[in-house]
């Protein structure tokens, strides 16, 4: 009896260690990602000055390494994506959470799953075959550029924005809503003055997560941005972003060259930006915890 108990307890402890080890491995992996990308990236600055890399726009390796165009491009497509996808996604989330009748909600739910299911290269391909020719004919310019990239990304972030903000709208206490209705408020008054302010931290989280998705998207952007390392003079001139430049040039540069290291530093910039967004989300959520 004692011997059996002993072996059972041994198993118990063994599996506990297995689980702790897998959890620790996840932490180890993210540290390794930051370490390797940063180490490779910072090698750039043995040759190039940080000032040139971050604040000048002349990208002409191996002579000039001014990457400001790409940094600006990444921010620009992200802001455009939020402008297109943010309001639409929030309105869609309010519709799903508070306005839609049961049967409409149930039939729309697979729709958001379908948006997630379409791979990002297919979004890029749609941009290439639908939006670029449309902009070329009806707006002007080559069609490639920030505008189309922003529209495509705006559509790509819809499922993120919708699902996160819908959850936070549902989490608002029904008592608050009932009190507002009880005072004779209409649905729009209740939504705009009670529900939305109460759900605000969740809505901010939704928008930030949408931004994180947009700034890190590579393939779809690369296919519609035009891939020209020049500072964009308008929304419809070809330019480039951090991600599109990495995708484009990684294959042509030998590992260990300054050019290649510069691409790694761009990846490191992206990494820092997306980690910063996660920390902001954490702060926002904690803030919500503090004010009930």
């Amino acid at each position: 009896m004692t011997r059996i108990r002993h072996s059972v307890l041994w198993y118990d402890r063994f599996f506990r260690y297995v689980f702790v080890a897998s959890a620790a491995l996840v932490s180890l992996i993210i540290l390794a990602v930051v370490f390797f990308v940063a180490r490779q990236g910072f090698l750039t600055f043995t040759v190039v000055s940080p000032w040139e890399f971050l604040f000048t726009t002349n990208w002409n390796p191996p002579a000039n390494y001014g990457a400001f165009t790409f940094i600006f491009g990444s921010f620009a497509v992200t802001v455009l994506a939020i402008c297109f996808g943010g309001p639409l996604g929030l309105a869609g989330a309010i519709f799903l959470a508070k306005v839609a009748p049961e049967w409409v909600r149930e039939s729309l739910r697979p729709a958001t799953d379908l948006f997630v299911g379409i791979p990002s290269v297919v979004y890029g391909w749609i941009g290439l075959t639908v939006f670029v020719p449309f902009v070329r004919e009806h707006v002007n310019g080559a069609g490639f550029g920030l505008l189309v990239a922003g529209i495509i990304l705006g559509i790509m972030i819809l499922p993120t924005v919708i699902s996160v903000s819908e959850d936070s709208l549902r989490a608002v206490s029904p008592a608050l809503e009932e009190a507002s209705y009880g005072l004779g408020a209409t649905r729009w008054q209740t939504l705009s003055r009670v529900v939305l302010p109460a759900a605000a931290p969740g809505l901010v989280t939704a928008v930030i997560l949408g931004m994180a998705r947009a700034i890190g998207e590579a393939m779809a952007v690369q296919m519609v941005i035009g891939n020209s390392p020049q500072f964009p003079r308008s929304l419809v001139t070809p330019t480039a972003t951090l991600t599109s430049e990495i995708v484009l040039e990684m294959g042509n540069t030998p590992f260990g060259s300054t050019w290649n290291n510069a691409l790694f530093f761009m990846a490191f910039t992206l990494l820092v930006l997306s980690l910063a967004m996660i920390l902001v989300v954490r702060l926002v959520v904690r803030h919500r915890g503090a004010t009930p």
């Binding site: 059972v8 307890l9 599996f15 506990r16 689980f19 702790v20 080890a21 897998s22 620790a24 491995l25 996840v26 932490s27 992996i29 993210i30 390794a32 990602v33 390797f36 990308v37 639409l88 309105a91 869609g92 309010i94 519709f95 799903l96 306005v99 729709a111 799953d113 379908l114 997630v116 299911g117 379409i118 791979p119 990002s120 290269v121 297919v122 391909w125 749609i126 639908v130 819809l158 649905r187 008054q189 994180a212 700034i215 890190g216 590579a218 393939m219 690369q222 296919m223 991600t243 995708v247 990684m250 590992f255 990846a267 992206l270 990494l271 997306s274 980690l275 967004m277 996660i278 954490r282």
Partner: protein, 287 residues
Amino acid sequence: MNKYLADRLATACFWAAAAVITGILLFFLTHIFWRGAPVLSLAFVLGTPREMTAGGGVGPQLFNTFYILVLSLLFSLPIGVGAGIYLAEYARPGPLTNLIRLSTECLASVPSIVLGLFGAVVFVWYLGLGFCILAGAAALALLNLPVLVRVTEEALRAIPVSYREASLALGATKWQTIRRVVLPSALLGMVTGVSLVAGRALGESAILIYTAGLSVSRYFPDFDPFVAGETLAVHLWYVNAQSLVPDATRIADGSAALLVLVVLVFNLCIGIPSRILQRRLLGGGGK
């Protein structure tokens, strides 16, 4: 009267937003299949690609897509499920648990192209694997990992505490409780989660370009994990970006439709039935 008008207007706006979102989706799906359907033939789906002449297929790419997916799940499932079990069953509030949660969130937020470069440094260069299926699968596993941790933890947390208490009260140890009581009841939820992860991984491309490479083996099917293995999603990008074949448009149209079809069929076959079954089981008396 004014506030009722405002309310009506707002309601109309929300319906319009929903209509726009659904409209975009329907337009996209119609566009994809309208252009792609004429291309989808058996010769295209199972045929071998050609470099210079028209008429190539995407058979090896389709095979690689699933092969890399299976390999990546092989790497990421044990670790992801293990970490999920730890967070759901063992972790107590404290700095260590916080650190693990934070790292999972951070790993989930890393852009896939950055994970691709990490995979290129570590698997392709330092471990000397070169551009190959194994390197691609290992990099893709990093992308799956945080999502697997989260879905496992959620599936386990959905199991009522009373199940565990009953098992522990009968004298079972913690591991016996997890293996015999918690995991079997959470299995369906975990399958749903894994199917979501797999659906996303099927369409992933940024992480694979510089790990799994842009070419395919001459043999088909080739199970050797040390040869380069371009997937369908990568092929769609490659054909648009730099391919030399004269019928690149046709191949892109067909690849896009096939890719979306594969993801949809995969979700229909695994995701939706398990979701319905799960709802029925939990509704029928699970809780």
